[in-house]
Point group: C2
Chain length 126, copies 2
DNA sequence: TTCTCCTGGTTCCGTTTGGTAACTGACCCC
DNA sequence: GGGGTCAGTTACCAAACGGAACCAGGAGAA
């Protein structure tokens, strides 16, 4: 079928990049940081479902990948700010598109899900 | 900070949609099906790292969400084709953007990762 | 007839991941 | 001096994930 030959090796590389970029928590964090620099607890409040454990792990990974910058203020109580790097900013547009898509098509997905669950046992296939 | 108020409730809804859309295997499957209709084993070959178990589960989820259409041909040996629905097509563009981003910035991420790993114990923060 | 092959898919079992929640550490307030 | 706050870690446990073997079922070979 003559796929565009996007460098199969590069594709594999992309796949492992997507292992984390395509992570739901990473997407949520990047989207949250897209609006503004946030502190740890602010992120936790913003991304309701996330646990401290995963927030920490996700932020560490994103920081390691150069997508998020972590700034520690040596004050009391401790203050740690997180913001997108320029590399992270380049991803923000896509993440926002993804978020926008989810918001826009959320109802369609719910309907499809309901329709699927209502099927007896198999669909007429066509 | 006056976030645009994108309906906090809708945002939460989007988040749970992203639970699966933001799944690495889902992204890989959608991207693979973006080029052409594929059979089960073709998908398995295309998405190298995936196991039958996860491929089956991912396809079921995507089918349930109305993103992928599953067509069973009652022939021998069994033939099952998977293709994107129109809803899936609307997501394809974003997924391709994500893939393109990963390909484009993969090296930058590798460098950032190497730099992070080379840090002694803490960064100067400034 | 019997045996194997081919494909899509499921089940069993071990590993990894993620959630819960309690704890740390330094300082402020009472 | 004890409790509270913020950022983060750790222990524990359940669920999800991955691998490999097994299942179904008809075609073709022996």
């Amino acid at each position: 079928m003559q796929l565009p030959e996007v460098d199969t090796a590069r594709m594999c590389h992309a796949r492992q990049i997507l292992d984390r970029v395509g992570d739901k928590w990473s997407i949520a964090v990047i989207h949250a940081l897209g609006a503004d620099t946030l502190r740890f607890t602010e992120l936790k409040r913003t991304i309701h479902g996330i646990s401290q454990r995963m927030l920490t792990a996700t932020l560490r990974t994103l920081e390691r990948d150069g997508l998020v910058r972590r700034t520690v203020h040596p004050v009391v109580p401790p203050r740690v700010d997180y913001e997108l790097t320029e590399l992270g900013m380049t991803l923000l547009g896509i993440v926002c598109s993804l978020m926008g898509w989810a918001v826009e098509h959320g109802d369609a997905i719910d309907e499809a899900r309901a329709a699927y669950d209502a099927r007896p046992a198999g669909s007429p296939t066509g």
